[in-house]
């Protein structure tokens, strides 16, 4: 192997050297003299006399000085004398480019570090990566090269060989997630993970490896496998080809993957969807997927398959985001420029995730450009953003820094006089760095801060914010065993300040802080088995309410609710088992456990009687760190896939989940002031069980993905509130909430076309979520103990997202959504009390608001497509709620001046146009 490699290397090098020298020979002779001139003066003079172009790192060469004295000398002599003395390496390519380097010689020919790992020639491995070479030359070269992995003679005679590696963007060095890596015969393939990594187990011998990803040129690599090894592949963006680009249609992941109920959205897709005020919104696009609903337009809270909005684990690079919204829920808290992709797991949730019942929304950021500094900016009517990225150490580490802010005050000027002194603003900041320490170790660092504040007439102000910090270390033990270790801190807090009455001026604060550690291992045992296992630990610390006087005159009594502390731990193990080429099973178990810990005290209630203040028997104190209550148990994650034929498969799964932290809310929408509560001796964890079955079919040579899933789900200890519950500053919150039983079921249909001029998806969901509280011992019966629909029970939900590309510079998008109106509680009568007619309520959620329908439209106009210009501009112009339909958000009755009046409130009751400018710069 080594010998063989050396031969290739030398031959290739000779070809270059030969060509290079012939050019040098034919070039003119040089006349050059100077005393202590800088590198730039030197190269300028040389470029003036020859056809050569010089490339070097000005930082490294800043201190170099040259004193040339040549008269009619050959270039080769000049170079040898000039650079040889100062230990400067020079390399020439066949286009008269000269690359000056220090320490190592730049290897012009080997454009990829492809043979890494086992038995690799050290020379080739140490060569620096390529500079800027014409893609066509590179591709042609790489396509025809035969890559040998392992040594033919010493590689042993294993029948199956493990090939691992990473797929990256050749231009930016970012990993490409979700790319398909496969061979045709026999048909074996995988998709890359979020780090662009893949592991394949292939038969010994010769293969053609196909690598495909949306928006990238398809790549083929000819490989000959002798022993386990690694291969890294760089992909090239298929930008701006004015020729027709055919994106390959072997999108087999829909049919072939074992996971069901997983939706992956690419940021490019998200950006095409029209958005309020033109700010691309990840969460809103997620709500167009089947099985995902939202209470209304002012809410970014998601309801996945009958789950409440606190049953979603929202992860941004592994950090839990407790409040994913800005500006009263009009925008989501994620900067679209920094997001690479979003994955939503709603039925077969991998065993590595836990702690929430309904779904996991995993948002992965991009990695910064490892090759050059670039940036982008966006200007909209309400928000603007700026992002900068670039290498820290070229090709090794990179950063990406992004920020968004709002200038909404013009909006407030439109309000009546009483509100003119009000204001609202928000910002979010992200810093993500990636450091490739070496081939086997990569470090990721993510920092996220968001803050929202708004004030009313300068006497009451509200603020809330997320702060997250995480460090992730990806380590490859062998090509079969890799691991990811993550640790971090997540924080969420809100504060209300009221100064209106000096006597009653107060400050109310809530905060939650969690620190966590995760270790995840992936072991590729053989072609049949691949294991995932690991451990998670989260330490929670909550201050559920701190109520303090503000100002010297205030007589507000300081009242701090006792802190809550808890430790959640989990161990998990899962096996991806390929039983036959048709049947694959994902079997996992997650043992989770939660300890509520002191210092605090809990009330004891008389057994078998409702939890009301009158039934408090005593309270028990717990010292710091003392466990007041432990909960735990196994969670099962089982999924299978059976391939019926090449384009059709059947998938099924059973999932159980436990949730130990709950948000308490008696508002319909997710409010910024909702509080979170840990399980404790009086609040049991929520349990969820789900069974689902799906049919997946690819149509039209895999350009259209169709799927149908049905599910049935039960939820235990789902927290609903009692009538008139007080959830803020409540010292015995368990008396105001009630554990109900929930059941949800539905069918979801999705038709997706992600390539071609016309792309997009159509989804339809039919589903129900019903709750029930029929245990008189638990407290008041809701609706007399019969089942009632949850707030977000919308049986019919239909969405279309359609994009049509007229040209590479102009496309239009249409987004349309219809759903059944959500349930509300309407008054059944009126009565006179305290000088006014008042409404009489009975029966929770017995009526529905009228159905919802909305259509949005947008046009995306790209500037010109010259690759080398400094600024790339694009415009998006659109209209939100094109038909101007006044979709009711709520219907309510209010007593005003003695009479009862009914109102229908629409949030975006008109067509709202927007315009947004996006700039990318280098």
């Amino acid at each position: 192997m080594q010998k063989y490699l050396k031969v290739i290397f030398i031959l290739a090098a000779m070809a270059f050297i030969h060509k290079g020298y012939s050019q040098l020979d034919s070039a003119r002779r040089i006349n050059l003299s100077g005393n202590k001139i800088s590198i730039s003066e030197l190269t300028n003079q040389l470029e003036a006399q020859t056809k050569l172009h010089f490339y070097y790192n000005p930082v490294l060469f800043a201190k170099e000085q040259f004193s040339p004295n040549f008269n009619n000398e050959k270039i080769a002599t000049v170079f040898a004398k000039l650079f040889g003395q100062q230990a400067i390496f020079y390399s020439l390519d066949n286009q008269d480019n000269v690359f000056l380097t220090k320490g190592k010689q730049l290897n012009i020919q080997l454009t990829e570090r492809y043979f890494s790992g086992i038995k690799v020639d050290q020379n080739s491995n140490d060569a620096l990566a390529d500079y800027d070479e014409s893609n066509s030359i590179k591709e042609a070269l790489l396509d025809k090269t035969i890559y040998e992995i392992g040594d033919k003679n010493t590689g042993g005679n294993k029948k199956t060989i493990v090939l691992g590696g990473f797929v990256k963007d050749a231009k930016t060095g970012e990993p490409i997630a979700g790319a398909s890596v496969n061979i045709d015969n026999p048909r074996i393939g995988v998709n890359t993970d979020q780090y662009g990594g893949f592991t394949l187990s292939l038969p010994r011998g010769k293969h053609v490896l196909n690598i495909q990803s949306i928006g990238m040129r398809d790549i083929k690599r000819q490989i000959v496998l002798y022993n386990d090894g690694k291969m890294n592949v760089d992909m090239i963006q298929s930008i701006m080809s004015l020729k027709k680009v055919v994106i390959s249609s072997q999108k087999i992941s829909n049919v072939r993957g074992t996971q069901m109920g997983v939706q992956r959205l690419d940021i490019k897709t998200i950006k095409q969807v029209p958005a309020i005020f033109g700010e691309p919104d990840i969460l809103r696009v997620v709500t167009t997927l089947p099985g995902v609903k939202t209470v209304g337009e002012a809410s970014t809270g998601l309801n996945v398959r009958g789950g409440s909005s606190d049953q979603n684990l929202i992860l941004f690079n592994d950090a839990t985001i407790y409040n994913p919204s800005h500006f009263f829920g009009m925008f989501s808290a994620f900067n679209p420029e920094l997001v690479s992709n979003v994955e939503l797991y709603k039925s077969s949730i991998p065993a590595s995730y836990g702690g929430r019942l309904s779904s996991v929304l995993d948002i992965n950021s991009r990695e910064g450009n490892k090759k050059e500094f670039t940036g982008s900016a966006g200007l909209g009517l309400l928000t603007s953003r700026l992002n900068i990225e670039g290498p820290i150490v070229k090709d090794k580490s990179s950063f990406i820094l992004g920020g968004r802010t709002t200038y909404s005050n013009w909006l407030f000027k439109q309000l009546p006089d009483e509100y003119k002194n009000s204001g609202a603003d928000f910002y979010d900041l992200n810093l993500i760095t990636t450091h490739e320490l070496n081939k086997n170790n990569t470090l990721y660092f993510t920092a996220y801060v968001s803050k929202d504040q708004f004030k009313l007439n300068s006497d009451t102000s509200y603020s809330y914010g997320n702060k997250n910090l995480s460090v992730k270390w990806k380590h490859l033990f062998t090509s079969k065993l890799n691991s990811v270790f993550t640790t971090g801190i997540d924080q969420y807090n809100y504060e209300i300040n009221s100064q209106k009455l000096p006597l009653n001026a107060y400050k109310l604060g809530f905060d939650i802080q969690q620190s966590y550690f995760k270790a995840h291992f992936n072991y590729f045992y053989n072609n049949k088995h691949s294991f995932d296992f690991g451990v998670n630990a989260i330490n929670y610390l909550l201050h559920p309410g701190n109520y303090d006087p503000a100002g010297p005159e205030s007589i507000i009594a300081k009242d701090h609710l006792q802190q809550e502390q808890g430790l959640e731990g989990a161990l998990y193990f899962s096996d991806h088992y390929t039983v036959t080429s048709k049947l694959k099973i994902d079997a996992g178990i997650r043992a989770s456990m939660f300890n509520a810990m002191g210092p605090n005290s809990f009330n004891t209630y008389a057994a078998g009687s409702p939890r009301i203040v009158e039934n408090i028997l005593s309270s028990t104190n717990y010292t710091s760190g003392q466990v007041s209550k432990s909960y735990g148990g196994p969670e099962y994650r089982l999924g299978f896939r059976y391939v019926i034929d090449e384009t059709l498969s059947l998938k099924g799964g059973i999932n159980t989940q436990r949730q130990y932290i709950h948000s308490l809310s008696n508002t319909t929408a997710m409010a910024p002031t909702d509080i979170w509560k840990l399980s404790d001796p009086n609040i049991k964890p929520q349990l969820g069980n789900q069974v689902s079955l799906g049919l997946y079919k690819n149509l039209r040579s895999n350009t259209i993905e169709a799927s149908m899933e049905v599910y049935y789900k039960t939820i235990e200890n789902y927290l609903d509130y009692k009538s008139g519950a007080i959830l803020v500053m409540n010292h015995h919150i368990e008396t105001d909430v009630i554990g109900t039983k929930g059941k949800a079921y539905g069918a979801e249909f999705l038709l997706k076309k992600l390539s071609g001029k016309l792309n997009g998806w159509v989804s339809y969901t039919w589903s129900r979520i019903l709750l029930q509280q029929n245990d008189p011992k638990a407290g008041e019966l809701i609706n007399g103990g019969i089942e009632y629909p949850a707030n977000y029970d919308k049986p019919n939900d239909f969405s279309i997202i359609a994009n049509y590309k007229f040209s590479h510079r102009f496309s239009i998008s249409l987004n349309s959504n219809y759903s059944t109106g959500r349930p509300i509680t309407l008054p059944i009568g009126t009565y006179q009390y305290d000088g006014s007619f008042r409404t009489l309520y009975a029966g929770r959620n017995a009526y529905r608001i009228p159905d919802y329908f909305r259509t949005d439209f947008s046009m995306n106009i790209e500037g010109n497509h010259k690759v080398k210009q400094l600024l790339h501009n694009s415009w998006s112009i659109g209209v939100y709620n094109l038909t101007g339909r006044r979709n009711p958000y709520s219907i309510y009755y209010v007593s005003e001046n003695g009479a009862v009046n009914g109102y229908k409130l629409s949030i975006f009751g008109n067509a709202i146009p927007y315009i947004n400018l996006n700039i990318r710069f280098k």
Binding site: I556, A669, V728, G829, D834, G835, K904, F908
Partner: protein, 391 residues
């Protein structure tokens, strides 16, 4: 918190909109008993009002007549109430109750059903320290101050009665009289002074007094304060309101209430006054302290406890306010003093004051307007001056 939500609603409705809504759902006939009032333990009269719930599409006060109401003490004392007018039941004007005892009411309706409230301890009410006002957003905001050194009362409720003086924009100096008849038999009219001797205007149509009861639930508590001291906003009068066009008076009544009644009224307020925002708390069912003894599952609305009332009257004169800018909606026009023109309008428009005199003292033209512009009694209450009114 609530305010925030109302405010967000206003913000969002700049894009959206709020429309009147009439429910297509036919509301069922409920007819539940509504019991409003308190047992007056301050030595005064106890008043209980009985009504029935009405349908949503047709709100009406349906008084419950012919019931028997008795106040029962746990010291075996009884006080009976008599129906003074339909649905309104009163005790004797002064009844002294035992402040150490607990009281409840028992109701027997005309159809024979019986109801009882839970026993309630007598809740003391401290006196009102002051009721004051200040300008806010150009309007006037009233505040109440009170304190309870004994800390016997931690939960307060207020209501108030507003009374204001109103002056007709057009003083009536003249009246019409039939001056004759023209062919075939058409009466003709002319103008004459109401008071031909002193040439003054009709005072009875000029000054009126409007009285209005509060219609919101006002509550506050000292349970989360270090001192039993209250400073709480009461009524707000928006800038330019007719209420302070001349003189305004408000009688504020303060009640110390039990914690349970406070919670009950707080829920009622949330359900009926504090709805309609983006982050709505869901409306909830109300359970008061009056129960049917005939059918325990019957819904009864109301919370009756034993309390006392403290009151305070305050005044504001328009002259105390800068730039109040009350503008009457009246349209006042000038008309020629001629038989022809007067005959045309005498049926619909009332005469006011002189617009132009002739050089010889005759009336060339006068101002006139709709009856509401001249006769304050039509829209602005009574012309009987209340006894407490300042001169």
């Amino acid at each position: 918190m609530k305010k925030l939500f109302i405010y967000l609603t206003i913000l969002l409705t700049t894009f959206g909109c709020k429309e009147k809504y009439v429910s297509p759902v036919v509301s069922p006939t409920t007819g539940y008993l509504v019991v409003e009032g308190m047992i007056n333990a301050g030595g005064g009269q106890t008043q209980i009002i009985l009504t029935r719930t009405s349908t949503l599409d047709n709100p009406a006060i349906i008084y419950e007549k012919g019931a028997k109401i008795t106040v029962l003490g746990d010291d075996n004392s009884t006080v009976s109430l008599n129906e003074s007018s339909a649905g309104i039941y009163l005790s004797a004007p002064t009844v002294v109750l035992n402040n150490k005892a607990k009281y409840k009411i028992a109701i027997q309706t005309a159809d024979g059903k019986t109801y009882q409230s839970d026993f309630s301890a007598v809740q003391a009410t401290p006196t009102i320290d002051s009721v004051y006002w200040k300008r806010e957003n150009n309007g006037v905001q009233f505040y109440v101050n009170t304190h309870d050194l004994a800390n016997a009362t931690q939960y307060y409720e207020w209501d108030f009665t507003e009374t204001w003086e109103y002056h007709s924009p057009l003083m009536q100096y003249f009246q019409y009289y039939q001056s004759g008849t023209r062919y075939p038999n058409i009466p003709y009219y002319q103008l004459k002074y109401i008071d031909p001797v002193f040439l003054t205007f009709n005072m009875a149509l000029y000054k009126c007094y409007t009285t209005q009861e509060s219609s919101t639930i006002i509550l506050s508590s000292t349970s989360n304060l270090t001192q039993n001291k209250i400073n709480h906003p009461l009524n707000y009068i928006p800038a330019g309101s007719v209420k302070i066009g001349e003189v305004y008076s408000v009688l504020t009544r303060q009640y110390g209430i039990s914690e349970n009644k406070y919670r009950y009224l707080e829920k009622m307020k949330k359900n009926t006054e504090a709805t309609g925002s983006i982050f709505d708390a869901q409306p909830s069912e109300l359970v008061g302290n009056v129960h049917s003894t005939t059918n325990p599952s019957e819904i009864v609305i109301g919370f009756v406890d034993a309390s006392m009332v403290q009151s305070k009257r305050s005044f504001i004169k328009n002259t105390e306010l800068k730039d109040w800018n009350y503008a009457s909606p009246c349209v006042i026009s000038e008309i020629k003093n001629s038989e022809d023109s007067i005959t045309k309008v005498h049926n619909t428009l009332l005469p006011g004051t002189v617009a132009k005199f002739s050089p010889f003292g005759g009336i060339l033209s006068y101002y006139f307007g709709t009856p509401e512009c001249v006769d304050c009694r039509i829209l602005h209450g009574t012309n009987v001056k209340p006894s407490y009114w300042p001169n």
